[in-house]
Subunit: 337 residues, 2 copies
Amino acid sequence: MTITIKDVAKKANVSIATVSRILNNKPGYSKETEKKVLEVIDELGYHPNSIARGLISKRTHTIGVLLPKISSMLMNEVIRGIEDTTHQNGSSVIVCHTESNGQKTMQYLQLLKDKQVDGIIFTSERLKEEYYQFVKKMEKPMVLLSTESYDFSIPFVKVNDQHAAYTATEYLIKKGHRNIGMISGNPEDQVAGQPRINGFLQAMNNYQIPVSHEHVVSEDGFSFEDGLKAFPRLIRQHPDLTAIFAASDEIALGVISAAYEMNIKVPDQLSVIGYDNINIAQMSIPPLTTVAQPLYDMGEKATEMIFEMIEKNQTVESRIFSHQVVERKSVKDLNKE
Amino acid sequence: MTITIKDVAKKANVSIATVSRILNNKPGYSKETEKKVLEVIDELGYHPNSIARGLISKRTHTIGVLLPKISSMLMNEVIRGIEDTTHQNGSSVIVCHTESNGQKTMQYLQLLKDKQVDGIIFTSERLKEEYYQFVKKMEKPMVLLSTESYDFSIPFVKVNDQHAAYTATEYLIKKGHRNIGMISGNPEDQVAGQPRINGFLQAMNNYQIPVSHEHVVSEDGFSFEDGLKAFPRLIRQHPDLTAIFAASDEIALGVISAAYEMNIKVPDQLSVIGYDNINIAQMSIPPLTTVAQPLYDMGEKATEMIFEMIEKNQTVESRIFSHQVVERKSVKDLNKE
DNA sequence: TTTAGTTACGTAAACGTTTACGTAAACCGC
DNA sequence: GCGGTTTACGTAAACGTTTACGTAACTAAA
């Protein structure tokens, strides 16, 4: 038998209301009874049942996180940030892995509703009308992470993808490169696809380097395999390329591996810059130069925002994090020749 | 206002008991009322509140997972297996990241108790007496994953570490290597440390290759940095080594990177075999040969076991998964010279 | 001394379910 | 057509909390 508030009340000779008041330190009890009750609680090893609490308070101290691919290493750091912060707030996280599948997403949203989560963090994907309407009906706060909605006004945290892609490209240019190609993810992707391509093109234009759309080849996603497949296509089209901007670190590693297979030396014959700065960027050979998103911090911030919305019941400012290129060894400085 | 069972009952002109019965298909209602009620449910978009349910049924359809390092890529696949399986069972997961910290672990256990999880999966770490006692008091099922307890009889799923290490070492030997070193994790670690060292030593002995304990150097953990640091130490002690068995893929990648820095070519001058077969094993240069644990399957199995224990309220057989070396390109066949 | 206000509680309703128990009607066998 | 069983419900208690409301005792002001 588990110990309930009643047991505590009985043993301490008070009512359950008093115990509850002490537990939630609401006014209405004397120092002495507090001491007595606290002793009994300690003695019995009582801990309030958070389910019963949740039933009344409508707070479950649980938040839901929706993300497309749990396996993506990108999300790893982000989730770490979310979970650490959530736990620091005395809550816990339910992670839902939608695989970018609309039906699955709706199922998960229903699950999160049933479980009465206090709030939802929606990541890395376009917020469809259907999702939005559902969450709106739930009347729970939501924040967007690594994505942004042009249709609905929901607070978000992300980096400026176009700007970051611009920075990466510019870095290559400043290192003396002129023949630069790009391997992008899905260009239909309005949030991580197109903007990065735009940033690339914009940098090239700004520095008056002629580019055609053939300089960027796209795959469906941002994975290692995508890079592996895309690189040979790109290099065949443009054998004179000296540098490549990859839209993700995983793609970049795919490029490096493919280049290795083709006996093209990185960075001597080909420079590569990635995007994200995930863990494995440092593990590649050569270590990957990349433009970093502060992934952990972004997860942290999104979580803080959710809690602010939950607790103060008001909306909150979006936040654009700044990116930063971290130099390692996959880009050659052509000026030093 | 949210829609409750009362609303459904009123609109369908039945009692809440009947609605509940229909929802849980317990006997006691006619086809007609069922149809009627189902219609109303659909019409109102009613979904039962799982918190209220949990309060009575003592089932929250939530399980807790304790793991030492969320960032470890190892755990990624495992967690995927756990979460997929859990969701298929209509439940959800709370992931707790203990950092191998006893105090934190106890806090998380308390959290899981408060949240009334139906069961606990405890991974990759020694089950301390304190933890065991706590869970025992909770009276909830637990299974061990990638670990095993010699003190308490708890069902587990893992691979046979010693055997797998033996297999890895034997693979190297069969490829003609005789000067083999090992980089292990923490040898104090009774579950992932010592057994792998034993397996290594055992294989060497079986093939009558002299080894000293100096052939194995240990670090605190199983990370990339550990491999990076350990390799120079090892190679300085034994410059004639032709192959290395790394106790994890991350260590192996560290070894490859360190070797690259020292201008030692893998696999031409040095062969490396890893352990785990995580995602990035295929991304390294050269792609890493490694002994694979079926990580996803192990997560899946552990979850199935937990659910069986929860639902049938009985204990369950432990399961040892078989390992397998996956050949890639980081080991040179010396016989072919 | 009376009155108004405060303090320190206790009682009971509420949160949204499940379920033990009760009951009236229908059915069955003889 | 009578006892007994089954079917199809309804009523109300229970799960473990929080909290609105009530109240008795004490305090302070007039």
